[in-house]
Each structure stands twice: as structure tokens, then as C-alpha cells.
């Protein structure tokens, strides 16, 4: 009954001058704690829009979003930032690491905005990098790392604040299949430790890692299947 996430009648309309794009239409949706969810669907179906709204990077045009029973659509800018910092770990297709900044410091950033003291920060960041198998690349900058290694740093950054939910937008989209498989192994691990994971992918074999697959079409849910 108590869902981790509950979306109710969510609409997201992008206005481009005269034109308006209805990216999500009257979207009703729930996610329970500990779920491993894959979102699929054709390009432009609204997957990224949904994920950004889930992670509070974007606000719906209308509708309500409850997280742990709290209506987050009423949050102020500062609470939204806190929420992104504490409750969400984002993993992007393009990694989105800070350039000219070494792996350790990239992973420390969420802790800095979360006001953790220096010594704890270093410890947690090292542990997170250790968990993704990068203890030997702490002081490498993004341009000194391979694509797979960069995504590992991004994953370490996403988990370092121990968020409730991990949101990954095509995390393997920029990687070859072998590296992609390694990354998926890490994400599976995060889920095994109890985290809720939401993952966008175009690949069936990646979606099969999840225990629930939701397919979108034109801003609506086309199918919602539970595996296993």
C-alpha cells in the first residue's frame, strides 16, 4: 500500500513558441521500495522526461508526485536541491563528470553540498570508488579515464550519499557491450544491497536485468510487466 513513489495525473508539456509537446500525458504510476525497474520505449516516448521528474531535476506541468508520502511538487528550490542531494543518485548516458577534476573530487562533490566534514568525505568517497573497482584511479581526471571507468566514477558519485533511489538514463548507451555488461553488474549489485533502481534502456538484454519492465509510448504507459 505504501509506495516509495506515487505519480498521479502527471502531465509534462514543453512549450516551443506556438508548438507544444506533450511529453507525459495523465501519467499514473507507482514504484515500490527495492524495485529494479527498466523503462523502455521508442525515442521521444517520454522516458527521460519521466526520469528527470522522478529525480526532481524537472517539474511536471500538472499532477502530483508523492515520495515516501510527501508531495514533492510543493517543494521550494532549496528543498528540491536537498532532495536531489540526499535521496537521488543520477547516472547519465554521457557521464556528466566535472572536467579537470579528479575522480576522488568528483565523487566528493555531493558530500560537499551535503555539508559532510572533510575527513568523512574522503573516507566515503574512497569507499564508493572502491565499490566500483576504481581504488587505483582516485587521482585521474575524466580525460585520463576510459568510458567505462568514467561511468564507474559517475556511479560512485551517485551512491556516495546512500540515496534511496538510483536513476540511470541509458547508462550503457555510450559503451561497448563488454563494458556495458560490467557496468550492469555494478548496478545489479547496488540493487542487491537494497537500493531502488530505475533504468532507461533501448536494449532487451539490459532490461532483463530488472524485475519489472515498463514500456512507454507517446507519454503513456503501453505495458507494465513484472519478471521473475
Amino acid at each position: 500500500m505504501n509506495h516509495l513513489i506515487e505519480l498521479s495525473k502527471i502531465n509534462r508539456i514543453y512549450k516551443l513558441g506556438e508548438l507544444s509537446v506533450h511529453a507525459l500525458r495523465d501519467f499514473d504510476f507507482t514504484i515500490d521500495e527495492g524495485e529494479y525497474l527498466a523503462i523502455m520505449g521508442p525515442s521521444g516516448s517520454g522516458k527521460s522526461t519521466l526520469l528527470n521528474i522522478l529525480g526532481l531535476l524537472d517539474q511536471p506541468t500538472s499532477g502530483d508526485y508523492f515520495f515516501n508520502g510527501q508531495n514533492v511538487t510543493t517543494f521550494t528550490e532549496s528543498r528540491l536541491a536537498n532532495f536531489r542531494n540526499q535521496q537521488v543518485g543520477f547516472i547519465f548516458q554521457t557521464f556528466n563528470l566535472l572536467p579537470r577534476t579528479n575522480a576522488l573530487h568528483n565523487v566528493e562533490l555531493p558530500l560537499i553540498y551535503g555539508r559532510k566534514p572533510l575527513s568523512l568525505r574522503k573516507k566515503l568517497a574512497r569507499e564508493a570508488l572502491d565499490a566500483v573497482g576504481l581504488s587505483d584511479r582516485l587521482h585521474h581526471k575524466p580525460n585520463e579515464l576510459s568510458g567505462g571507468q568514467r561511468q564507474r566514477v559517475a556511479i560512485a558519485r551517485a551512491i556516495v550519499n546512500e540515496p534511496q533511489i538510483i536513476l540511470a538514463d541509458e547508462p550503457t548507451g555510450n559503451l561497448d557491450s563488454k563494458t556495458g555488461a560490467e557496468i550492469m553488474e555494478i548496478i545489479d549489485n547496488i540493487h542487491h544491497k537494497g537500493n531502488t533502481v530505475v533504468l532507461i534502456t533501448h536494449e532487451e538484454y539490459i532490461a532483463e536485468h530488472a524485475n519489472r519492465i515498463v514500456t512507454l509510448l507517446d507519454g503513456r504507459i503501453k505495458s507494465d510487466t513484472r519478471l521473475k
Partner: protein, 406 residues
């Protein structure tokens, strides 16, 4: 606090990545600060020495002379004035009740001989017995000449400290010895204390003789300067009025005629000095305000470029939890650092320039901490004023749009 260090770190990175651009940006600030510091250092230095030297003229003394100390270019008028003579000295003595001391001073430069030793270009001054009181110059050995020695044209003299040192061996007793001052023999009765110099001119290289003795040799028509000192400083203005009346009477000036003499005082010089430095100060304010304005606009421009270049970075930071205030502060700190780098360069240039000017010209300079602070606060305000717009622009970016910025 953690966040402050993070901001400093990013500011350092982003500025060191575009080092040349950063330095060019601060040029306006550099010029502004250089101007402030150079001029304030020079004015401060001048003020210190000038007020020091002025006070050696005596804060409490009027100088009656043919020429004004501050002239307004009418030398042809002043040159036609009658020389000031003992007649005027006597008139002031008789008719000015506020005058405690009236001291005539008349100068010539000549040679001084003692035995085989000879000094050139020594200032020989004719004066009266009140010279020590008005000029604060008292004998270190022997005594000053008395009223009767002045009145009876005695051939006595008092040596300046420098003349004594140059004519006599160390420890040699000069009292009672005779020296030749441009040919006439005078007897030494005293030696003055060391007095140092005023406006670069030594006041120890002189020989003082009774004014009548001086005039017997050099003639009575040589122009005199009269020092007049009141009983107490409050009477200075009244004394000036009395002196003007006395001189106009003795010179038989009609009421429609202007004074044909000048009454000078330290105060006149001080006023003139203040007027000049005020003009300098105004010029400094104008130049530095203008260049700080240019600097501010430069900073705004470069920060706008920087915000655009770093849109994605801002998006990333916001996605992982940076608040609006964090981004605002980050960019404002960057602005401040940019400005302080400019200040630092400007201050080094300014102090260097002031030091250089005072080394190659007679102008003194004083390192002014006040000027440094003034410049720092002023330019920081300018930088913050012009930096708030780009920083606000960065802070208000939408995270998604920023992340997708190409």
C-alpha cells in the same frame, strides 16, 4: 566552510585555465588601484614632510616681507615694492601691542675664514637678540648676543653648528676666537645647537651677527624679512591686523592704495598645499573611478562568458544537489578573486611607482596602508556590483536545460 574551499578551488581552476584572459580582465582594476595607491602614497609622503617642515617655520610667527610666499604670478608688481628696512622693524616694535618679539632677518652668502681654514657660500644672517626665542635656536656653547651688542654694532658672532664643525677641530674651544666674515673680523661668542634642514636647505651652515654690524658692512638698503611673534598663539590674527596698520602708517599709504608688503605665515603655505593636494586627489578619484568602472564592466563581460562556457558544469552541480546560493557564491568568489588579483598587481605597481617617483624626484612618499584598504574595499564593491548579474544568471539556470547545453 567546506563549500567556501570548494569555491576557492574551482575559482582557481577556472582562472588558471584562462590566465591571460583573467589578467586582461583585471587591467581596469589594476590601473585604478595603481592610481589610488601611487597618488595617495605621494600625497601622504608630501603631507608628512611638508607639515613637518612648515612647523619648523614656527606655527606662531608672522613673516613680513616684500614678496608673498604664494604669488599669483604678479612678480612685476612685487618687484616695484619698497624694500623693508629697520624703519618698519621699529614701527612694529612701537605700534603693535600684541607683538612679543620682533626679529629682523637679513641674509647674504659669503666666505668665512679661520686661520688657514676657509668655507665658501656660508649664509651670514644679521638679526637681533630675540632670534633664539622666535626660531627655537639656542646656543649650545657660549651665549647669544645681547641687546647692547646689537645696538652698539659689536663685532661679535654666533656660529651655526655646521660652521663650527667645519672650522674647528673636534673639542676645540671656539669662544673668544676671531674669524673673518667676508673680510671683517668678528669674535665668536656662541655656537648654536644642531638644527637640521628645512625644504632641503641646511640651517646649520650659518653665521649670525648683530643686524647693525651686518648693515654697516653690507649697507642699510638690503631688504629685510621681519619675524613677528605674539605673546600667545590666539593673538596671531590680531597681531596681523596691528602689523598691517603699523606698516601702512609708516609707509604713508592712502586708504585706496593696496598694501605694498606681504604678511606670510605657515598657515598660508599650508592652505596652498591643501588646495594643491585637493586637486591631485580629485584627479585621482576621477581616474581611478573611471578605470574601476571599466574594470567592473570587463569583469561582468568575462563572467558572462564564463557562465556560458560552464553551463553544463552548473547543470551537473545542480543535479547532485547544489543550491542556487552555492552557485551564486561560487561565481561571486571567482569575481572577488579576480578583483583581488587585480588589486595585488595594482598595489605592487602603485607602491613601486610611488617609490620610483620619490627616488628620482625630490618628492617623498609614504607607504599608505589606508590607501591599500581603500582600494581593496572600493574595487571589491565594484566587482561585486558587476559580478552579481552573471552570478545570478548562473544560479538561476534550470538544471535540465543546463545539462543539455551544447
Amino acid at each position: 566552510m567546506y563549500f567556501l574551499i570548494e569555491s576557492l578551488r574551482t575559482a582557481y581552476y577556472s582562472l588558471s585555465k584562462h590566465r591571460l584572459r583573467a589578467i586582461l580582465t583585471t587591467l581596469g582594476i589594476v590601473i585604478g588601484i595603481t592610481t589610488i595607491i601611487t597618488i595617495v602614497s605621494l600625497i601622504d609622503g608630501l603631507k608628512k614632510t611638508v607639515t613637518g617642515e612648515f612647523s619648523q617655520l614656527g606655527t606662531n610667527v608672522l613673516y613680513v616681507s616684500k614678496y608673498p610666499w604664494i604669488s599669483h604670478g604678479k612678480w612685476y608688481v612685487y618687484r616695484k615694492r619698497k624694500a623693508i628696512t629697520m624703519e618698519e622693524v621699529n614701527a612694529i616694535q612701537e605700534r603693535c601691542p600684541s607683538a612679543a618679539y620682533v626679529v629682523p632677518i637679513v641674509d647674504a652668502y659669503t666666505e668665512v675664514k679661520y686661520g688657514s681654514r676657509k668655507l665658501e657660500a656660508i649664509e651670514i644672517t644679521g638679526t637681533n637678540e630675540f632670534y633664539p626665542q622666535v626660531n627655537g635656536a639656542y646656543p649650545e656653547q657660549g651665549r647669544f648676543f645681547s641687546a647692547s651688542e646689537v645696538n652698539h654694532k659689536q663685532r661679535v658672532c654666533v656660529l651655526g653648528w655646521g660652521v663650527y664643525n667645519n672650522l674647528f677641530d673636534h673639542g676645540e674651544d671656539p669662544l673668544g676666537k676671531w674669524i673673518r666674515v667676508s673680510g671683517i673680523k668678528v669674535r665668536i661668542i656662541g655656537v648654536l645647537q644642531k638644527r637640521g634642514s628645512v625644504f632641503g636647505e641646511s640651517r646649520d651652515n650659518m653665521v649670525l651677527v648683530p643686524i647693525d654690524t651686518f648693515q654697516k658692512h653690507y649697507g642699510r638698503r638690503i631688504n629685510i624679512t621681519i619675524q613677528v611673534m605674539p605673546y600667545n598663539p590666539e593673538q596671531l590674527e590680531q597681531l596681523e591686523d596691528e602689523t598691517v596698520i603699523a606698516l601702512r602708517q609708516v609707509r604713508r599709504l592712502h586708504s585706496w592704495e593696496e598694501d605694498d608688503f606681504s604678511i606670510n605665515s605657515q598657515d598660508v603655505l599650508l592652505q596652498e598645499f591643501k588646495r594643491t593636494t585637493k586637486a591631485l586627489f580629485a584627479a585621482m578619484v576621477a581616474i581611478s573611478a573611471l578605470s574601476l568602472l571599466v574594470g567592473g564592466i570587463g569583469i561582468m563581460n568575462i563572467m558572462l562568458i564564463s557562465v556560458t562556457e560552464r553551463t553544463r558544469e552548473i547543470g551537473i552541480r545542480k543535479a547532485i544537489g547544489a543550491k542556487r546560493g552555492h552557485i551564486l557564491l561560487q561565481f561571486l568568489i571567482e569575481v572577488l578573486i579576480l578583483c583581488w588579483v587585480g588589486c595585488l598587481i595594482g598595489a605592487s605597481l602603485g607602491f613601486g611607482l610611488a617609490g620610483f617617483i620619490s627616488a628620482v624626484t625630490p618628492l617623498p612618499s609614504a607607504i599608505s596602508v589606508k590607501a591599500g584598504f581603500l582600494g581593496l574595499i572600493f574595487s571589491s564593491s565594484v566587482a561585486l556590483f558587476f559580478g552579481i548579474y552573471p552570478a545570478g544568471k548562473a544560479a538561476n539556470l534550470n538544471p535540465i536545460e543546463a545539462l543539455h547545453y551544447e
